[in-house]
Symmetry: C2
Subunit: 311 residues, 2 copies
């Protein structure tokens, strides 16, 4: 048994797995019939529980900005979107407004049984376009939200999504922006209860999480256009690691980014080329987001690919 | 140097520390003049970074429901509130509505330059009372929000808050509901860059985080009414551990709760007594929250204490 098969064999699916599988299947079949292009976006970090009754876990840094912003741009370009994200990470549209920002935009007109609530006129300008895009996506059933928390939830959902996406063949784009844990604590080495501090400081022995790109590219969605991300904090190894990944898994594109500069620039690495996508100082001051450029460039690549790989 | 002094000596304050200190000082001085009772609520989990350029960290489970709900009930009972919470954990009032729930409540009336947005009539009933309480707290300046992420941010903020709270003497209540990490990775043993998976699976050697209750009770707010929480997953040790904590730190009250049943019952442990506070099945079905009972009971205890410890 390969490493990834063993992982599935030793980790149970999440409790809402069957419900999500039905949603994914229905969503894919409906849009396949309509002839749409589809993108699966994974977003946010995954956790690795340290105890069965989980109080503590190891987490990966990711607010989910890249995935949530990219979802909006893919929708704008006519793709339908499966937004597979970490519970509580940022979501498209709502990401622009925190809970307090929402409350502060509202005006209460207290008139007993005729009480009404309106958005303050000066907030309408900001909220209206976002709300219109949100409603368009919701009402057209153009986006499906599914959530994970642990790395094992992510494994189960990703495979299920791929199984449904396979019918799109080359028209499926996978935009794997989630920050997946590299390490985990095997189920049989995990304590049942909260680790007690009285027993002194513990040592946590981690194991490597299997890489899913291999079965994903070779078995699950062999015709799809697959894009993965590489995040590093040390610039000197970024392109080398991106190229290594591409050579190993044979997918289409790796987008490399540095933790410190990820909002200004990324590097697109394909089998034969590498080029930087970045925002100018002026674009940043105008509030442009790098995800706008990333998505435009990815779609150009996908369109090129479709021309040469259409059945 | 004691363990906690050493921790401050080896961890820098967060970048927004001075700003928060000024806010805390202004808030406390203003309300002290007005003769208010004040509660400091800490809420949400803390993180322990595993790398200086943080990609990975160990986290403690806590959505922040208990702290956020309790803040609402303390405000309702006339306390002013410092809500010191983990960034992105739940906040009072906004906790009732996720981002999508907010969007779904809104109706867009697209009329060009006269576009308006209103809350749908059937959502007004739910939103209006929450919005009214939120506005009352905001407009009266009755709640101050300050945030932390890492355990060391929490350390710095908590001490600063206590230094400002001390002027309230017995009228200050500390409601320490945050789930603070017990373990951390010392700064000098932390790698600078993201741990590389190519080097094999790492072992993480953790150290014990010093307990702040000792200096807090003895030095920082010696006259205040201090309530701490104890969360366990193993019921058999809960009361014993709560009592141990009380004997060790000499504060007023420990509220013990089990991870699995924390929404239905808790146990109040004082120097001489212990009693359960719980919701009946009917109360739960009616949507009552256990924080309502917890806060009422804590305030009764605080009021009793004030009678015998007034200067």
């Amino acid at each position: 048994m390969s490493h990834w098969e063993e992982f599935y064999a030793t980790h149970l699916p999440p409790t809402d797995f069957e419900d999500n599988r039905i949603l994914l299947k229905e969503f894919c079949e409906r849009h396949k019939k309509a002839g749409e292009r589809i993108v699966l976006i994974t977003s946010g970090g995954t956790t690795v529980p340290l105890e069965h009754n989980t109080v503590r876990f190891v987490d990966n840094f990711s607010a989910g900005t890249r995935g949530a912003a990219s979802a909006e741009y893919f929708l704008e370009h006519g793709y339908v979107v499966i937004f597979m994200h970490r519970l509580k990470s940022l979501e498209p549209f709502t990401r622009h407004f925190s809970g307090q920002k929402f409350m502060d935009m509202l005006e209460l007109h207290d008139q007993g049984p005729n009480t009404s609530i309106t958005v303050k006129p000066d907030s309408v300008d900001v909220l209206a376009p976002v709300l219109a895009s949100y409603k368009h996506a919701q009402e057209g059933g153009r986006v499906l939200y599914v959530t994970f928390t642990t790395v094992s939830d992510y494994f189960w959902l990703l495979r299920a999504a791929c199984e449904c996406l396979a019918i799109f063949e080359t028209k499926a784009l996978l935009f794997l922006a989630a920050a997946v844990s590299d390490f985990y604590v095997p189920s049989n080495e995990m304590p049942t209860h909260k680790i007690q501090s009285g027993a002194g400081a513990p040592t946590i022995q981690l194991q490597l999480v299997p890489k899913l790109l291999a079965p994903l590219v070779n078995l699950w969605v062999p015709h799809a256009f697959v894009v993965s991300f590489k995040l590093e904090t040390d610039e000197s190894i970024l392109i080398v690691k991106a190229r290594d990944s591409l050579n190993k898994y044979k997918h289409k594109l790796v987008i490399g980014n540095m933790l410190q500069t990820r909002r200004q620039k990324v590097v697109f690495v394909t089998k034969d080329t590498s080029f930087e996508v970045s925002l100018t100082r002026e674009q940043m001051l105008n509030g442009m987001e790098i995800e706008d450029s990333i998505v435009t460039n990815v779609i150009t690549n996908h369109t090129e690919f479709l021309k040469t790989h259409q059945y």
